[in-house]
């Protein structure tokens, strides 16, 4: 759709929105099932395509992402009411009616391109919203292919023309014009911080994400080999490209040797201070941001580029650090098999380091702990600023939902106001409807029999009003 103007794209999208408004729940669900089946059937091909095009991550892990985005998401939304009356509360006289929000712009990241397309298209179509897919430049072809597969399946099931569109070759200016277009209802912004900020600045309502910087605390009550196994399963998943994957391990010093030994059994290589500095020079670009060149690359490849001599079976590079912040570049989010490591004195110190990490670029996102002490879990969780506090599970898969817990499966993880987002929820189809409330008359009898003139008398204080208002004769 390269030759089409922004206005034409929006005209098509608004026409599709109009047509979609006539569909009932059954017709809508038939479309969603068709898209799910087509996306699921293409899971391996699209995973290979994404890995080959971007060079990021592992195709076999991207298959799992595609499964989450289709099978798990479909299971989550299949029975969800999204058309017409979705809830009736006769006691309180409230009737809720779902309406589509309107055309949605879906911004797709290079790290999870095909899975994010399928997740967003399923969520949009379930709610009768047309969707315009905006690929990352690094993942355009696989993103467009995923969108095309979804669109054709939707059409086969009777969906409106142009209910899925995609931008194959548009300039940054055109994307910004689209974001600000008066016909656009919502932006689902998953991607780099700059792009998410552009979406917020456009004036169009946006469900965005924030960056992560996930600490994982291994408490002394934890099962260390289990914890390390789970952390490796998460951090090595798709070579660390999920923003909810662990970025720093925090342990009490008494556990440090056991934890390090367990990581070494999984192929981790602990860097010395000089090696850490070599790695810092590689992972940050000239502006101090994470270098795109190392995102989703294997540990051995990164080590080689940094000039580090590591064993050929190295899976993970771990840098023991003394602090958090700009003086410790490896304490920031790095979407690759690289972890920081902190050995500290006691629980309080550990929590303080986790707070530092959480607030150093990851506010509102996700934190993780391995712990079997309920009091400590509650204390830890209440001190963090995170939408998801995942306990005794791999953080990446845990935050995405469904595989290890009951969170809604999602590839758009809200980070609350700390991450400049409106929600801490895992964003799903539930967020893509406007809910109208029909309210029937249910008088508050206290108000009806209350002497309203008391409000006009400044001599009557709040306690007196409260007593009079609630008097139960």
């Amino acid at each position: 759709m390269s030759a089409v103007s922004v206005d034409e794209i929006m005209q098509r999208a608004t026409a599709a929105a109009g047509i979609f408004s006539q569909y009932d729940q059954q017709q809508t669900d038939r479309i969603v099932e068709s898209v799910y089946r087509a996306g699921f059937a293409a899971r391996v091909r699209l995973a290979r395509f994404a890995q080959e095009e971007t060079g990021i991550g592992r195709w076999d892990h991207k298959v799992i992402k595609n499964v989450v985005a289709t099978q798990f998401v479909y299971e989550d939304i299949r029975d969800l009411k999204t058309v017409g009356v979705i809830r009736e509360d006769t006691d309180n006289g409230i009737l809720e009616i779902a309406q589509p929000v309107g055309p949605i712009l879906a911004i797709i990241p290079a790290t999870n391109p095909t899975s994010t397309v399928m997740f967003k298209v399923l969520s949009a179509l379930k709610t009768r919203n047309p969707v315009i897919v905006s690929p990352s430049r690094r993942a355009t072809a696989c993103t467009v292919e995923a969108a095309r597969i979804c669109y054709e399946a939707a059409l086969d099931a009777g969906a409106p023309e142009d209910c899925v569109q995609w931008l194959a070759d548009v300039s940054r200016e055109q994307t910004q014009a689209l974001m600000a277009h008066s016909g656009l209802a919502l932006i689902l912004a998953t991607g780099a911080t700059g792009l998410v900020h552009s979406a917020y600045s456009s004036g169009t309502p946006t469900l965005g994400v924030g960056p992560g910087n996930v600490p994982v605390f291994i408490d002394r009550s934890a099962d260390v080999p289990f914890a390390v196994n789970e952390i490796c399963a998460s951090k090595l998943f798709d070579n660390g490209t999920i923003c909810a994957s662990e970025q720093a391990i925090v342990v009490e010093r008494a556990l440090a040797d056991d934890v390090m030994a367990a990581f070494r059994q999984h192929g981790a290589y602990f860097l010395n201070p000089a090696e850490s500095r070599q790695l810092e020079a590689l992972v940050l670009d000239t502006s101090g941001h994470m270098s795109a060149d190392i995102v989703g690359r294997p540990a051995t490849d990164i080590a080689q580029r940094a000039g580090l001599a590591v064993p050929p079976d190295t899976t993970l590079l771990i840098a023991p650090l003394d602090g958090v912040g700009d003086d410790y570049p490896l304490s920031r989010e790095i979407l690759a098999p690289i972890l920081a490591f902190y050995a500290v004195e006691g629980f309080d110190h550990a929590v303080n380091v986790c707070i530092d990490l959480n607030f150093y670029g990851g506010i509102g996102h996700t934190v993780s702990l391995f712990c079997n002490d309920e009091a400590r879990i509650t204390a830890f969780a209440s001190l963090m600023n995170a939408g998801r506090i995942v306990v005794n599970m791999p953080s990446a898969q845990g935050a995405v939902g469904r595989m290890y817990n009951s969170l809604s499966p999602s590839l758009t993880l809200g980070c609350g106001t700390g991450g400049k987002n409106i929600t801490t929820d895992n964003v799903t189809a539930r967020h893509l409807i406007n809910i109208q409330r029909v309210t029937r008359r249910r008088e508050d009898r206290r108000f009806a029999r209350f002497d309203l003139s008391l409000y006009l008398d400044e001599g009557v204080d709040a306690d007196a009003i409260h007593e009079a208002f609630n008097r139960n004769y």
């Binding site: 608004t14 026409a15 929105a17 109009g18 047509i19 408004s21 006539q22 409106p160 023309e161």
Partner: protein, 106 residues
């Protein structure tokens, strides 16, 4: 006053003296709209007179009916394509699509 009537399987078209009156019924899906678009547009272009679509018996419109209305508007000018007896669900389609300006909906 009707001066001529054309009855086809898909639509009834009557020249009311300066304006075409077109009665449609049922589901205006893609296939059906594609069948009627060409003959209707030919009439409009030949006669250069506006058209009123009577949608009293129409239960659903596809994108292609919106396209037909847009093409008809281009042929005869803004305000000269009119929809009458429009069901609320279909009126809403035109509102959402932003077509209620160039196309009159009564």
């Amino acid at each position: 006053m009707a001066t001529a009537t054309t009855t086809q399987t898909d639509f009834d078209l009557t020249d009311t003296g300066g304006t075409w009156h077109c009665v449609l019924a049922g589901r205006l899906d893609t296939e059906r709209c594609e069948r009627i678009t060409e003959p209707l547009l030919s009439r409009l272009q030949e006669s250069n007179q506006g058209i009123t679509f009577d949608l009293a018996e129409v239960s659903f419109v596809a994108s292609s009916f919106l396209r037909l209305c847009i093409l008809a508007t281009r042929a005869v000018g803004n305000g000269n394509v009119c929809l009458v007896n429009t069901a609320p669900t279909i009126k809403k389609v035109f509102k959402i699509a932003g077509l209620d300006g160039p196309i009159r909906i009564d």
